[in-house]
Symmetry: C2
Subunit: 209 residues, 2 copies
DNA sequence: TCGACAACTGACCGCCGGGTCATTAACTAG
DNA sequence: CTAGTTAATGACCCGGCGGTCAGTTGTCGA
């Protein structure tokens, strides 16, 4: 550590390396407390070098979202495209996938947190996220529900118009983990099970009106 | 505005005035971007005066939480105490109350946002909130569910162990409003209706297993 | 009327971190 | 080998804001 290693010129690899370092730093410190200097150090690079590839801290964050979040949803979309079984099982699969990829994954959860925290500061990013992720995800859910209703598997109802309610408890789980996990650990597995059971069966007993 | 108004000495009123000014400032700018100077100005006071009553920015925020959030939950608790009708209706009432007080109210939604954003920085605050609000709220829900199951109104299930899943979609609504409302307005009324319908009836058709 | 006390003020301090840029060193073509 | 190009460096600059405190002014009791 004492002697400075010789400089290396690796224009092509730098962006990805810096991005990874930034993900680590952001995940550990949050956006506001992340220091560019620290990102640089993690990437084995000088501060100035970071600015060779990204012009602001915000831009780094945007790159992370584009690079790490979209794939999760693309994956889910692909899954539902070629699904053979019941729609209820597909819904279970997708939501479970979502918990694994977004809630239990530190990197991605932190991205979510930053999106919430700094939402206003990045209006274009919020737009991007909305367009690419939320609209797409909602469309997928609508399709899933439509098929389920058609086949008689699901009942029709208001949820078909607001399909995101089905996924909403996952967000709560993410927030709990971000905010209160040090006070009381969330049992993610149990929460997920309760979530799935609830949206599928509801709470009323069969005999009720 | 040009001439300085004469100083006023009002030791008793200051804290509340400053708190209100802080709520406004935080709601408008968020915690990180809120300036003490600006809070002081809103309160019609000099910066130094703020520090006469609160020693740090954090402390101001904590005071806000104590002062503004607890009442909402106390209210709900009181409501459920003396409820006469069905548990399903009580649940509807409570959740509706919650949307009105927390999601549609700018001040309180901002408090929630700050809690999420700055959660780590305020571990004691997270503890306080957890202890006073979440644990209490959960206990109330458990009791409600217990009664409902006893009377045959509700089925038993995993949700009884994780009662917060019932309320979770409200958090999603809050976050949507905080982050994406400028891109696409949330129809809160419809969301609430879908939420209630979903948790009560679920998604499966009656004929399903 | 006049201390003396406490509320109030706002100029100032110090730190911190994002972003710059003159300099240096690695690579490359000829 | 050399000159030109460009990646990489890190000392420095600078603006902003949280927090301080010596000084000022209102208030009240004697």
């Amino acid at each position: 550590m004492v002697k400075g290693k010789p400089r290396e010129r690796r224009k092509d690899e730098r962006p990805a390396e810096i991005l990874q370092a930034a993900v680590d730093e952001f995940a550990e410190k949050g956006f506001a407390n992340a220091k560019i200097q620290s990102i640089a150090t993690r990437a084995g690079v000088a501060k100035g070098t970071v600015y060779l590839y990204y012009t602001t801290k915000e831009e780094i964050f945007e790159a992370i979202v584009r690079d790490r979040i979209q794939p999760v949803f693309a994956m889910a979309a692909a899954m539902s495209q070629q699904w053979e079984g019941s729609q209820a099982d597909l819904l279970r699969q997708i939501i479970t996938h979502f918990y694994g990829q977004m809630i239990e994954n530190d990197e991605r959860r932190m991205i979510l947190k930053t999106l919430i925290s700094e939402g206003d500061r990045f209006s274009e990013l919020a737009e991007f996220y909305h367009r690419e992720v939320l609209v797409g995800g909602r469309k997928m859910l609508r399709e899933l529900i439509r098929k389920g209703i058609e086949s008689g598997e699901f009942r029709d109802g208001l949820y078909a118009k607001e399909p995101m309610v089905l996924v909403a408890p996952a967000i709560h789980a993410a927030i709990w983990k971000m905010t209160f996990d040090s006070v009381e650990k969330l049992n993610t597995r149990r929460w997920l099970a309760a979530h799935l059971e609830m949206i599928l069966q509801g709470v009323l007993s069969q005999s009720s009106s």
